[in-house]
Every structure is written in structure tokens, then in C-alpha cells.
């Protein structure tokens, strides 16, 4: 068990190192000289050399990479190229709580709604309940999140115009606060954000539940006269939930890519929007930092689901 976790951990460490290296090399070889653009019209060779030294860009690449990694380990993401004097962390710190809040509620919603939908579908397998439910889930999974966002916004605007209401379609209230006006901003984006993962989890829990209900121990439980309730909830559901643990990593991956579209369309000032603005302004330290943060989020999600998997199901051979 410990050995397995160490192995996984080392593997994931490689992913993180790979990601940092790729983002580093991209920043290093990216066209255009950031210092030159920073100086603009005030170009002066002495100042240029000074700034280059201050950002550590005059060192050979392996030393730059070493410094970069050391700084990362100290949670020091360096300084922005564009917003002078601002550390990357101070730029990101406004976005991180918003994005984590968005992701947190979406994940909760995915599980709390997705699992029951899947289980109901499995219990009513091949009835109209099942087929309608799974049909909707299939459509929700296939349609890209930004198209769903557009549909949601059109509906809000339509309702606003017909009721004289003023439900907002963009922006984000205060992070982690839930007054009525905050909720107005947050409900719809979180809902749309959760749809894709919810559909995925619903389909998976249906499959898993059907699989479990065919097992011998369920037949045994029925044969010894347990009530259907006990059979389904105690013997069925608990075992059906095991494979769902593995979904966590995948869901976080979905959420990370989904964040770019949700934050863009609903104009939410989270970490993905900061990434896009810094890509457009070619602010490499910020891009590197956000990429590493998002990748680490996905990697940690994968690690947690690996750990949970071995914890909830002792039968899993750890090798």
C-alpha cells in the first residue's frame, strides 16, 4: 500500500516536472523579447542589461530553470513582466479564491445530483425514466460547456426582458459569500459548470449500479429475504460507489478546462481569465504560474482518487 502510493507519487512528480519544464521551455523560446517590449520606447542598453539581470534572464537556461523550480517550491512565482513591480502571486491571489469556489461547488453538485440520477436510472433500467434521463445526460455531456453557457445566458436575458427582472449574466459577487446578490451571480455559472461532469458521473453510476445488481451477493441478499430497500442501499449502492472514486481526477480535469470557457463567457475574474489576459499580453511568468497551478490541481485530484480507491476497496491489488 505504502509502496504503491510512493510509486504513484513519484509518477505524478514526473508529471509536474514535465509540466514545469514544458511551460519553462515555451516561455524561454517564445518569440519576442519580453524585456524589450517592457521598455518600449525607453530603450537604453544599460537599463536593458540591468532589467535582464533583475529578472534573471541573463543566466544560462539550466540555471534559469533551476531558479524557477526553487522559487516554485517556495511558492514564489516571480514578478510580472507587464504590471511592473507586481509579484505574480499578488496578481493570482484575487483569482484563486474565485476559481476554487466555482470548482468546489460544481464538484459537490456533480456528485450530489449525478449519483442519484444514475442510481435511479439503474433501478428503473430500460423504462422511460431511464431512457429520458440518460438521453438528457448524453446530450449534456456531448454539448460543449460554452454552448451550454450561451443557452443559459439567452434564457436569463429572455426571462429578464419578459419579467422586468435584472438577473445578471456576467460577473461574480464576493468570493465565498452568499448574500442574495452574490447568489444571483453564482448560481447559473456553477450550475452550467457542473453539467458536463454531472452527466458523466450519472452515466457512470448507472453502469456501476447495474453491474453490482447482477452480482451474486445481491442475489444472496435477496434470497435470504432482505427487504429491497436494504438490498439496494446497503448491498448495492455502497459497492456501486467504489468505481466512482476514480472519477475525481477526471472530473477535476474537466473542471480545469471548463473554467476557461465559463470564466470567459460569464466574465468571472478567476484564474483562467487571468491566464487568458496574460496570454494576450504575453506575460510569461503569470502564464507559467497559472499553468503549473492548474496542472498541480489535476495531479492532486488524480492522486487523491488513487488513494481513496485503495482505501475504499481493499480488494484492489496494489502493485
Amino acid at each position: 500500500m505504502v509502496q504503491f502510493l510512493i510509486k504513484r507519487f513519484i509518477g505524478l512528480l514526473f508529471v509536474v516536472i514535465g509540466v514545469t519544464f514544458i511551460t519553462f521551455v515555451m516561455g524561454l523560446n517564445a518569440p519576442g523579447d519580453p524585456i524589450r517590449t517592457l521598455l518600449g520606447q525607453h530603450f537604453d542598453p544599460r537599463l536593458y542589461a540591468q532589467l535582464k539581470h533583475a529578472y534573471g534572464l541573463d543566466l544560462p537556461w539550466y540555471q534559469q530553470y533551476y531558479n524557477y523550480i526553487v522559487n516554485l517550491l517556495h511558492f514564489n512565482f516571480g514578478y510580472s513582466f507587464k504590471q511592473q513591480g507586481q509579484s505574480v502571486w499578488s496578481i493570482l491571489s484575487s483569482g484563486v479564491p474565485i476559481s476554487t469556489e466555482l470548482g468546489f461547488w460544481a464538484l459537490i453538485l456533480e456528485i450530489l445530483v449525478g449519483v442519484p440520477l444514475g442510481v435511479v436510472s439503474a433501478l428503473k433500467a430500460n423504462t422511460w425514466v431511464d431512457t429520458t434521463n440518460m438521453g438528457i445526460m448524453l446530450v449534456l455531456f456531448a454539448i460543449p460547456v460554452f454552448v451550454l453557457s450561451v443557452f443559459a445566458q439567452v434564457i436569463i436575458v429572455w426571462i429578464d426582458q419578459h419579467t422586468g427582472g435584472s438577473w445578471p449574466v456576467s460577473g461574480w459577487g464576493n468570493p465565498w459569500q452568499y448574500t442574495f446578490s452574490d447568489l444571483q451571480f453564482k448560481i447559473v455559472p456553477i450550475l452550467v459548470y457542473a453539467f458536463t461532469g454531472m452527466a458523466y458521473i450519472a452515466r457512470l453510476s448507472r453502469t456501476s449500479m447495474l453491474e453490482v445488481l447482477r452480482q451474486d451477493y445481491v442475489r444472496t441478499a435477496r434470497a435470504k429475504g432482505l427487504s429491497e430497500r436494504v438490498v439496494i442501499y446497503r448491498h448495492g449502492l455502497r459497492n456501486a460507489l467504489i468505481p466512482l472514486v476514480t472519477v475525481l481526477g477526471f472530473s477535476i480535469g474537466l473542471l480545469v478546462t471548463g473554467a476557461f470557457f465559463i470564466e470567459q463567457i460569464f466574465n468571472i475574474p478567476g484564474i483562467a481569465q487571468i491566464t487568458i489576459t496574460s496570454i494576450n499580453s504575453r506575460d510569461y511568468p503569470v502564464i507559467q504560474a497559472t499553468t503549473v497551478l492548474l496542472a498541480v490541481a489535476v495531479v492532486i485530484g488524480n492522486l487523491i482518487s488513487d488513494i481513496l480507491y485503495t482505501v475504499v476497496d481493499p480488494r484492489i491489488k496494489v502493485a
Partner: protein, 371 residues
């Protein structure tokens, strides 16, 4: 999408698999398949005629199954319609409608104002009319013309990505599956990393950093031209790079199965070289899995390109793409929701159709896969 009647009685419907599943490894499908009497022969096996039926090759049986799958066929029809619209649409549309007197541009023939890049500033945000069949956008460009151009972009990117995806996926997948060894190790590690890292993030990063470079250098190539399409090659390569590991993994799995089959053994005993076995006996039998995987991947590719363009990193104005149309229209959602709804609806339909068609293909061509 009537899955209902099929779901109620799968056995009676023969090979029609209900409930198009998203994942290639959906265990629901396999248990339904077990109820199919007889089942189709595995690829490579010679067909034994069943009962009084006509003798068909496995491939013909698969086509017949696909033909009977109503949902897949309707989707194929819709896809064909959009492809024709993208390729032939502009040719027809630019010759429909007469010349009109523009207060800015003077006498303007339809070949000009039905051009996706032409701005007619005294016809902004118009609703559908005889002159502009689907209306105009905020700078007076014809929405239908831009839609057709956007579809063309989606299709070209999809084709380009699938070519790279298939070539890389087959080459590396077959080598990994047939020979094993370090190439197999490499593939396994590489796919692990790719699955742990969200692919779209990589695409965003790559197009974001090298986008302006692509604009200045690739934009000079004559075919690509200056209409903001220069980044498409970058987007396509990035999308293909994130797509091929999955294809390679499917191909590897199939190759592992195939190389244990008797016909491969027979070829080997009769003295065929590895190269001959791979080219003559393995690759032809990969056809079905490659078709299925690439059809399912096309949906991802089209969404990916639209998404990248929506974020402002793909096609640049005045070029057109479904994603760019959405991002152009989103600010007008209060006053002219049609402009954002049109590309969104079209994109949703295309993506759904490719998913359903991919599912249909899998059910038809690979009905016993338990992979």
C-alpha cells in the same frame, strides 16, 4: 433520437445497440451484446453462413447494422448536409440575389455582400431577410456566409487533425503492440502524462504563446492568406498532439489481440516477415477501430477549435469560425440574441451528430469489443 423503443427490447432488435454510450469502455453495451444470437464474426475470421441467410462478409454485415441504426443514419445525413453547405454553399449563395445600391460602397453585387469578410455598415444587426438569409452581425457581415466559412474551418481542422492523429496513432500503436519493448514503455508513460494533464490547457498554452508568431509568418503563405486563419495550423497540430495517444492506445490493444490470432501465426509460419505481417494482416484489420475512434475524436476536435477561437486564440477577425462567431455575438446577447444562438445551435447539432454517429459506428463495426 428515439432510443426508447429500442431500449425496451434489445434482443428483438438484433444488433441494434441502444443508448449510445459516450465511453468506448462502457460495460452496459457488452451485456446487451451478449444477448445477440450468434453475434457477428470477429475481424479476420471467415464468415460462416448462418441458416438460410445470404452469405455476407463481416464488413457487409457491419454496414447493414449501421444502415439499420436510424439515429446514426440521420446524424450522418445532417453531417453530410453541413459539409455540402460549407463546400458548395458559398458557390451558390454568392450568385443569389441581385445588385443593391449601398450608401457607402455604391452598387454592390451579391458576390460581394454575400462574402463572409465584407462589412456592409448600413446593414448592421439585421434579422433574416431575402437579402441576408440569416441576417447580419454587428458590422454588417452576412451571418450565413460567415457560418458557411466557419463550418469550412471546422471541417478543415477536423480533417487535418484526423490525418495526423491516424498516422501517428497507427504507427506508434502498431509498433508498441507488435514489438513491445521500449516503444511500448514510452507510449505507456506518455499516455499516462497526457491523461493526467488536461489537453486543452496544452493547446491554449501553445496557441497563446506562438499565436502572434504564426500570424506574421504563416499568414504569408498564399493558401492560408491574410484572413486571420494562420493560427489554424498551430491549433490543428496542438489538437492532434493531444489526440494521438488515445488512438495509439486503442490501436495497441487491437494489435495485441490480432497478433495472437491464427491467421497471423499462419502467415508467420509460411515465412512472412514482420513488415509483411503488419502491413498485410494487422493494419487492414485495424480499419474499424480507427474509423470509430477518429469519428468520436472529430467531435472533440471541432469543439476544441471552436473553443480556442472563442477564447481569442484561434481564428482571428475578419476570419470566421463557429467559436469566433459565438464570441462576437455574446456581447449582443441582450439586443440580438440570434447572433450568438445561431453558431451555438449549429455547433451543438454537429457535435451531437458526430457523437451519435461514432456510437453507431462502434455498435455496428465492433459489437463484441469488451475493451
Amino acid at each position: 433520437m428515439d432510443t426508447r423503443d429500442r431500449n425496451t427490447d434489445p434482443a428483438a432488435q438484433g444488433a441494434m445497440i441502444p443508448d449510445g454510450a459516450i465511453l468506448p469502455t462502457d460495460p452496459i453495451l457488452t451485456d446487451v451484446r451478449e444477448t445477440i444470437p450468434g453475434g457477428p464474426p470477429a475481424p479476420g475470421e471467415t464468415t460462416a453462413a448462418k441458416g438460410t441467410e445470404k452469405i455476407r462478409t463481416p464488413f457487409q454485415e457491419s454496414l447493414l447494422r449501421l444502415w439499420r441504426d436510424k439515429r446514426a443514419m440521420v446524424c450522418a445525413g445532417i453531417i453530410l448536409f453541413f459539409v455540402l453547405l460549407a463546400v458548395l454553399g458559398p458557390l451558390i449563395y454568392q450568385h443569389v440575389g441581385g445588385t443593391f445600391q449601398s450608401s457607402i460602397n455604391g452598387a454592390t453585387p451579391s458576390s460581394v455582400y454575400h462574402n463572409p469578410f465584407h462589412q456592409e455598415l448600413d446593414h448592421q444587426d439585421e434579422f433574416a431577410s431575402g437579402m441576408y438569409w440569416l441576417g447580419t452581425d454587428s458590422v454588417g457581415r452576412d451571418l450565413l456566409a460567415r457560418l458557411m466559412q466557419g463550418l469550412l474551418i471546422s471541417i478543415s481542422v477536423a480533417v487535418l487533425v484526423e490525418i495526423v492523429d491516424i498516422v501517428l496513432g497507427i504507427t506508434i500503436g502498431v509498433l508498441a503492440g507488435y514489438f513491445g519493448g521500449w516503444i511500448d514503455q514510452f507510449l505507456a508513460r506518455f499516455t499516462d502524462i497526457m491523461f493526467a494533464f488536461p489537453g486543452l490547457l496544452f493547446v491554449i498554452l501553445l496557441t497563446g504563446i506562438f499565436g502572434t508568431w504564426a500570424d506574421t509568418t504563416l499568414g504569408n503563405i498564399p493558401i492560408i492568406g491574410p484572413n486571420g486563419n494562420a493560427r489554424l495550423i498551430l491549433v490543428s497540430l496542438a489538437l492532434a498532439f493531444t489526440a494521438w495517444p488515445l488512438m495509439a492506445r486503442y490501436v495497441r490493444g487491437q494489435t495485441l489481440q490480432l497478433k495472437e490470432q491464427q491467421f497471423v501465426e499462419a502467415a508467420r509460419t509460411s515465412g512472412a516477415s514482420s513488415a509483411q505481417i503488419i502491413l498485410r494482416h494487422i493494419i487492414p484489420n485495424l480499419l474499424s477501430i480507427v474509423i470509430i475512434a477518429s469519428t468520436l475524436n472529430i467531435a472533440n476536435t471541432i469543439v476544441g477549435e471552436a473553443g480556442i477561437s472563442l477564447l481569442g486564440l484561434g481564428v482571428q477577425s475578419p476570419g470566421s469560425s463557429l467559436g469566433l462567431m459565438i464570441s462576437d455575438g455574446i456581447s449582443l446577447i441582450d439586443s440580438h440574441p440570434w447572433e450568438v444562438l445561431l453558431p451555438s445551435i449549429v455547433l451543438a447539432i454537429i457535435v451531437l451528430c458526430f457523437s451519435f454517429l461514432g456510437d453507431g459506428l462502434r455498435d455496428a463495426f465492433d459489437p463484441r469489443s469488451k475493451d
